[in-house]
């Protein structure tokens, strides 16, 4: 019984002692960690950040300087030439060959029909013809000839009436874009 009492006393009356160096080691670690954090912070605000700011200023300066290496006259000359080439390319793509209408009329006009007026609007691919046909047969033949031509999209007879010379008429011819656009003709 006396042996048991002694063991209980050892367990409860004398608590386990912390090693003597443990709090000092904790204190040293805390001091080291705090100093390290402080060092990093001070390094950032006094060392790295000013270095980056300096680097930024230097890059800005270099970018400003590089813009000035080409003279204003050379720049203007270059931009004008470049603009001319770009614009010319676009304009040539849409260049109009209006004289092909004359060839079209010469190929497709009935011998018994003559025109005394022609109006062309290139942007609308439109031709209005005023003329005289010997007879209505000739006028119909003329319209059929225009309709069958591959360059035309539509033919409309606006008006027709018997006159001294034959049948006076006003006719609208709508072309496909290929007739007037020189880049599509080639």
């Amino acid at each position: 019984m006396a042996q048991y009492n002694q063991n209980i006393a050892e367990q409860f009356l004398e608590p386990e002692k912390l090693p003597v160096g443990w709090p000092w080691r904790l204190l040293l670690f805390s001091v080291f960690l705090f100093a390290l954090i402080l060092f990093i912070y001070l390094g950032m605000i006094w060392g790295y950040q000013p270095y980056l700011a300096k680097e930024k200023v230097s890059l800005n300066k270099q970018i400003d300087q590089i813009g000035g290496t080409i003279s204003q006259a050379d720049r203007d000359n270059f931009v004008n030439f470049y603009s001319q080439l770009i614009n010319l390319q676009g304009l040539l793509e849409n260049h109009v060959s209006g004289s092909s209408i004359f060839d079209f009329l010469e190929r497709n006009t009935n011998q018994q029909v003559y025109f005394n007026e022609a109006t062309v609007t290139v942007t609308d691919h439109f031709l209005r013809l005023g003329g005289v046909a010997r007879s209505y047969d000739n006028l119909v033949s003329q319209m059929v000839a225009f309709e069958q031509a591959p360059e035309t999209a539509r033919v409309v007879l606006e008006q027709s009436q018997v006159s001294n010379n034959g049948i006076s008429f006003l006719m609208d011819v709508y072309f496909k874009p290929m007739l007037l656009n020189s880049s599509q003709n080639q």
Binding site: S30, V96, A118
Partner: protein, 192 residues
């Protein structure tokens, strides 16, 4: 001082230092690090901009060097005849008059309007648009000459686009080969 008091004190100081370290990290280092990251991003962008600009400038300098070459200068002059760098109205009108005269037509009238500048057909903001001069011409003469006049307009040195025309038979007799033509043409110049 008792040993236990020293221990408690050292543990408290340690705790305070650890908390202070966490506070410094959260309150100061983290925001500063964020600032630094932003600055590094800006610097990386500027460095790439500098590299790109240096590359572009060297290419432009190379091209400018080529422009000063005699052949390219001649080519540039030829381009300027097709699309002049100024409005050059007398040049355009002189050419129309010369074409009419060469084909035996009479230029009876000529009017000019300026249209809005056409923006350059390019994605580049660098290219400037082309200005348009719209001429209204009235010419008088025979059919064959009129046809050749139109063909010559199309192949004229200075780029000319036909907008519209109206041909009216103007002979006293139905079989008299004389016509009056109202022609609208556009010609272009390079804006500065």
């Amino acid at each position: 001082m008792k040993a236990t008091t020293k221990r408690i004190l050292s543990i408290m100081v340690s705790a305070i230092l650890l908390i202070a370290a966490v506070v410094v990290y959260v309150q100061f280092i983290k925001p500063e690090y964020s600032n630094i990251q932003n600055m590094r991003g800006e610097i990386a962008y500027q460095q790439s901009l500098l590299v790109n600009q240096s590359h572009a400038v060297s290419q432009v300098q190379n091209l400018i060097g080529q422009l000063q070459d005699q052949n390219v200068a001649n080519f540039q002059n030829q381009i300027s005849l097709v699309l002049p760098a100024t409005e050059s109205v007398p040049q355009a009108l002189g050419q129309y008059q010369a074409i009419a005269q060469a084909n035996g037509l009479t230029l009876q009238s000529a009017n000019l309007n300026y249209l809005a500048v056409k923006p350059a057909a390019s994605n580049s903001n660098l290219a400037k648009g082309a200005g348009t001069e719209r001429f209204q011409l009235k010419v008088f003469g025979p059919y064959a000459a009129m046809k050749t006049f139109f063909q010559n307009l199309e192949t004229n040195v200075r780029l000319t686009d036909l907008v519209s025309f109206k041909i009216i038979h103007s002979g006293a007799q139905p079989n008299q080969d004389l016509y009056t033509t109202d022609i609208v043409v556009d010609t272009y110049y390079q804006t500065q």
